[in-house]
Symmetry: C2
DNA sequence: CGTGAATTTGACTGACATCAACTCAGGTGG
DNA sequence: CCACCTGAGTTGATGTCAGTCAAATTCACG
């Protein structure tokens, strides 16, 4: 009845995209595997604007900025966050190479969140006006673009799921499992990677405090589920972590 | 610096759409105010499929169903929810007349959530395949469709904001204020309306228990902020409620 | 009216936050 | 090369908000 939703696992989109690369970008989501011919690909390349480097800690765009471009991350990691009226930041997502930033700005022509590089990064600017023209001419591209927006919606729903009814350790497990699957989809080792974000940022994203994150990581470590050293993480028992994500008691399993 | 984001207030999209009506639907979001000529409108009308009635408690679609149509709500209210692997429901949104359902299914051609009518309702089926063809021919419609998807993304981000860092009474205040603004946008009284969902559903949506919802409603009532009788709600001090939404202490204000 | 469901209210508990002290890594300058 | 400094992270003690459990009340509907 309940399918093995990719959406249960956190965000970031589980796209198997990125399989094709384009001249300018070497990889970005719009270079989908789904039947873009070479000719189409070339035309797409043309609209991919210049590359842009963003240094660690620098914003790619801010809440309230006018909307000109979408951005395909070529290299590096970003976080997107909103700021509450009382000044509290809420991180709404972490994005990595191959993911697309800025889709929330389409509705009002203003960015609704701020995107900041977590490390020195590089993006491709995609002028939205140009993209639109192209979409009208290329049905396959249009369809793909819609899939990507829809996927973003699904991703966010799964975060709502997490924030709405998961206990702290489930949230963290889901977070780790999600990162793992995204790295795997990109061809990296799924069970050993570097966290690009601070404990504080993880906590913010998961609706927990920095201390809770720290304690939970220690707990997982003590239980032999992971190895942690600073920001280096190794998932020793990804299967158990997935079980925790699904609500299983860590001790009941195993 | 921080704009008065509609997104801070919960979901549901604050669109001022619905201003135009179309023959089949009397109203739906695709009949945007933004410059659809009569001719375009007629063509749009043609693809709006048949109306469909959905009785209270009945699903419009379920998680895992194949994706055929988008649905514009013509009359009534719906909730969308996902089910966790351990069987717990998480409500991801409440939708009312003039809002669009099903956009999360575009990515995989499968519905990722279940939509259930909260009361006897009526929707317009919009066959997505047909819509797609039309989008390719009508740039204004395409642009509008993108806005709507983007708006859904923004809406969900604001729910994440709420679930991630708001205390219980802020969540409830935000929920009430959001409903209020959506009714207002539809031409209904903004400060007196009927809740279409149970306390349990509200609690589920806001990540709280039914008891918490009940207590908070009682508290707001005691403080003179609202009048409650069963599902009839009157916002007596919408301004104060908005202040609570933004993090102000209810007693500090006024 | 009567019966079951929904809601309210109260007492208690627990998970996570808060506050505070401490450790550690990495960088800087002498 | 080492002493120092700073910010990130860890760990512990304590507090509190919202959850849990339970009972009372009201509501919906036959």
């Amino acid at each position: 009845m309940i399918r093995d939703l990719p959406s249960l696992v956190l965000p970031g989109a589980t796209l198997d995209i990125l399989k094709a690369s384009c001249a300018t970008c070497s990889m970005h989501q719009l270079c989908l595997p789904m039947g873009l011919g070479n000719e189409d690909m070339d035309r797409l390349d043309q609209i991919i604007g210049r590359r842009r480097k963003v240094a660690r800690g620098q914003p790619l765009f801010r809440t309230g900025d006018g909307f000109q471009n979408l951005y395909a991350i070529r290299l590096g990691h970003f976080k997107t966050s909103q700021v509450n009226r009382d000044g509290a930041e809420q991180i709404t997502g972490f994005q990595m190479a191959g993911e697309l930033l800025g889709m929330d700005a389409i509705s009002t022509d203003l960015h609704h969140c701020t995107a900041v590089a977590l490390e020195d990064s590089e993006v491709c600017e995609i002028p939205f006006a140009t993209l639109q023209q192209l979409l009208a001419e290329m049905p396959t591209l249009l369809r793909h673009f819609h899939r990507m927006m829809s996927q973003e919606i699904t991703r966010e729903q799964s975060v709502m799921l997490l924030l709405g009814n998961m206990a702290a350790q489930r949230r963290l497990a889901a977070f780790l499992v999600n990162l793992s699957s995204r790295y795997e989809a990109r061809g990296y080792a799924p069970n050993a990677f570097q966290l690009r974000m601070s404990r504080e940022e993880i906590g913010n994203y998961l609706g927990l405090t920095i201390e809770s994150i720290s304690r939970l990581l220690s707990k997982f470590k003590k239980e032999g589920l992971i190895r942690v050293s600073n920001r280096d993480i190794t998932l020793l028992e990804p299967h158990t972590l997935k079980a925790i994500t699904s609500g299983a008691d860590p001790h009941a399993v195993k």
